[in-house]
């Protein structure tokens, strides 16, 4: 029974992997089409398949590395720092990621500010309503 469960689980995992691979393949295909239009150069099917396969495997490596980096920094969550460490090899990629990171950080800050405002407003509202309620009750 255990073996059956494991077998079923294996099947599930395998089908999951296949779905992921298919998704990657589709995305790679789309990107390649864009590039083909841009450069006026065709991509063969094998090329796209190869690229998608390589991408998939590299993603696996990335995941392992990210986990290793996070553990190395004595954290249990993968951080942007880990991602930056991962991308350090390619300068342009690193720059891009750093910029994006900054943008996201800014966004977060803004969101936090908005949230804070909202929260304060809500508090005020609630206080007002409470006061109103009190007044009403008093009345």
């Amino acid at each position: 029974m255990m073996e059956e469960e494991e077998g079923a689980e294996e099947q599930q995992r395998f089908s999951y992997r296949q779905r992921l691979k298919a998704a990657v393949h589709y995305t790679v295909g789309c990107l390649c089409e864009e590039v083909a239009l841009d450069k006026d150069m065709q991509f063969s099917k094998q090329t796209i398949a190869a690229i998608s396969e390589v991408t998939f495997r590299q993603c696996e490596n990335f995941a392992t590395d990210l986990e290793m980096f996070a553990r190395h920094g004595k954290r249990s969550t993968i951080n942007t720092e880990d991602v930056k460490l991962l991308a350090r090899r390619s300068h342009s990629l690193l720059k891009y990621i750093t910029e994006k990171n900054e943008d996201i950080a800014q966004l977060n800050l803004e969101r936090k500010a908005k949230k804070k405002k909202k929260w304060e407003d809500e508090n005020r509202n609630s206080v007002e309503s409470a006061e109103a309620g009190v007044e009403e009750s008093e009345n």
Partner: protein, 580 residues
């Protein structure tokens, strides 16, 4: 009775006994003895044989009863007969001889093999036989395959026959005679007596007379203590790793001695080293060279003067002690080297990288004790007039295996200032050797693992270095020249120059490894590269997996001395070395 089994051509026991039986009259023991002795009249030993044969027979009987179980079916039958006969009849020489003849055919059938076995190694059997104690002969039994399974009674004639053959062999060896009647008879009689000390006596003198078979005492050459010490001095100096002096003194002595022995490639490395070093003025480098020399791995420094310096001090222990001093001295002395060698390079470096240098120097100071990279040496030697990147490149090129933490720190060190390099380099060398199992990625796996153990184990005696010769190649790759040669050596087939150049192009890879180490350390919020960073690097390379840990790699590829220094081991008295 089993008669006429043995071939008459051989003067075997059987034939002799046959003769005796034929000639002797069946009489009372005493009379029989006298007649028998008269008939025999071959050797005094034979008389002894008759006298002791009864005792031997008794012994054999007891032995037979004792060993009856272990004998083959044939022997059992014979034994039964012998025993029965023994019990029934009086123990006359005639009956004894009869029993012998009864048992002899069994052994004779087996004999050819037994004798063949024995003849090639008579010396082995004979000395023990000469002792001729019953016990020793009994001990002999297991050695002889067929005889061992036979009853002692059976064995005795077999052994006798073997003895006879051996004695014949001896005769043949020493006297050129294959057989001599009196001697044969004597042997036969001795054989028939088979287990008597008295009969052993005649055999022994023969052996003494035969120098060919005598065991000579091993000739020992008188050891010339003076030359021995001189050799020690010559070989130990390059060996003594300076960095190890920083570790516990306990470790230094054994590593010292043992590392001297583990020099499988002292010659090739020695050849490499002179070619690799960058020439720099002698006096300035002499100081650094002293420290390096002990490491003797990367003889980047040019000056031959270091070798001379080494010859001064005495023993390895002293050398180690001196290393520590030298390290301190080098710190002072290095500014000279830097000024001489890389003035132009060092200054801009220092100017440009000032702040970084300070930080890195701090790092390097902290790390110095732990990991050092020979690359730093090389980079120092290499005169890096260019910028930081080049320094790191040189460092990268140096660190084939050691590409880890030390390299990260060494990079910083290089950028900081050469003054720091000299003292650190030997230590770095040591630490590097000690710290690094294998960093090799798949392509370089062939190179690095082979290089690593060799580098670690090989301590070349320092060779005089040619001063003044500038590096002909790119200084950052010059360090890899050493590795390229090792690589070509381990390839076990000739390598094209292009292939060797490609190996040298690995400097970028090593440089990346060094940078990685640095980044890993920074990632963990540290300024010091630690073994954890190294492990992370190896894990990324795929050398350390969930199944294979760093310690496993250390055990696999490093010699025992390094393993002792790296893997904490509990010793007696609640002491753990190295302490964590």
């Amino acid at each position: 009775m089993a008669d006429n089994f043995s071939p008459d051509s051989e003067p075997t026991t059987r034939t002799l006994l046959r003769r005796v039986l034929d000639t002797a009259d069946p009489r009372t023991p005493r009379r029989a003895r006298s007649t028998l002795s008269g008939c025999w009249s071959l050797h005094s030993a034979q008389r002894d044989l008759l006298e002791t044969s009864s005792s031997r027979r008794l012994r054999s009987q007891t032995k037979m009863t004792a060993k009856r179980r272990s004998h083959t079916a044939r022997s059992v039958d014979r034994l039964a007969r012998v025993q029965a006969s023994g019990h029934l009849e009086e123990q006359t020489p005639r009956t004894l001889l009869k029993n012998i003849i009864l048992t002899a055919p069994e052994s004779s059938v087996v004999m050819p093999e037994a004798v063949v076995k024995l003849v090639p190694s008579p010396q082995v059997v004979q000395p023990s036989r000469r002792e001729s104690s019953r016990g020793s002969l009994e001990l002999q039994l297991p050695e002889l395959e067929p005889p061992t399974t036979l009853a002692p009674g059976l064995l005795a004639p077999g052994r006798r026959k073997q003895r006879l053959r051996l004695s014949e062999f001896q005769q043949g060896m020493d006297w050129g005679h294959l057989s001599q009647e009196p001697r044969e008879n004597a042997d036969a009689s001795s054989l028939t007596s088979s287990l008597n000390l008295t009969f052993a006596m005649p055999v022994q003198p023969q052996s003494v007379k035969r120098p060919g078979l005598a065991r000579r005492p091993p000739t020992r050459r008188v050891v010339d203590v003076g030359t021995f010490l001189q050799d020690l001095r010559d070989t130990s100096f390059p060996m003594a790793p300076p960095g190890e002096s920083h570790r516990t003194p306990v470790a230094t002595v054994p590593t010292d001695i043992v590392l001297e022995d583990t020099q499988p490639f002292s010659q090739p490395l020695a050849d490499h080293s002179p070619s690799v070093h960058h020439s720099l003025p002698c006096p300035s480098h002499s100081g650094t060279k002293e420290v390096e020399g002990a490491a003797s791995r990367r003889t980047r420094s040019s000056g031959p003067g270091l070798q001379n310096n080494h010859s001064g001090p005495g023993k390895p222990a002293q050398l180690l002690a001196r290393k520590v001093e030298e390290v301190d001295a080098l710190a002072m002395g290095f500014p000279n080297t830097s000024s001489i060698s890389g003035e132009d390079g060092v200054e801009p470096l220092q100017n440009g990288v000032g702040e970084e240098a300070e930080e890195s120097m701090e790092e390097s100071m902290s790390i110095r004790e732990v990991e050092k990279a020979a690359e730093e040496q090389e980079s120092a030697r290499a005169e890096e007039p260019e910028g930081h990147t080049e320094v790191t490149e040189a460092v990268g090129s140096l660190g084939a295996i050691e590409a880890k933490e030390p390299e990260g720190s060494s990079e910083d060190e290089d950028t900081s200032a050469s003054p720091q390099l000299a003292p650190s380099t030997p230590e770095l060398l040591q630490a590097r050797r000690l710290q690094f199992p294998e960093p090799a990625p798949p392509p370089s796996t062939a190179v690095l693992p082979s290089e690593l153990p060799k580098r670690l184990s090989a301590r070349i005696p320092p060779r005089p270095r040619i001063p003044g010769s500038r590096p002909r190649q790119d200084p950052y790759k010059a360090g890899l020249n050493h590795y390229a040669k090792l690589f070509s050596f381990y390839a076990k087939m000739p390598m094209e120059k292009k292939a060797v150049e490609m190996v040298e192009n690995l400097d970028k890879y090593f440089q990346h490894l060094c940078e990685d180490l640095e980044v890993f350390a920074a990632h963990a919020g540290r300024k010091t590269v630690r073994p954890e960073d190294l492990e992370l690097l190896l894990r990324r390379q795929g050398l350390v997996t969930d199944r294979v840990s760093l310690h496993v790699l250390v055990e696999r590829h490093l010699p025992l001395e390094y393993r002792q220094l790296l893997i904490p081991c509990a010793f007696s008295g609640n002491s753990v070395f190295p302490t964590q």
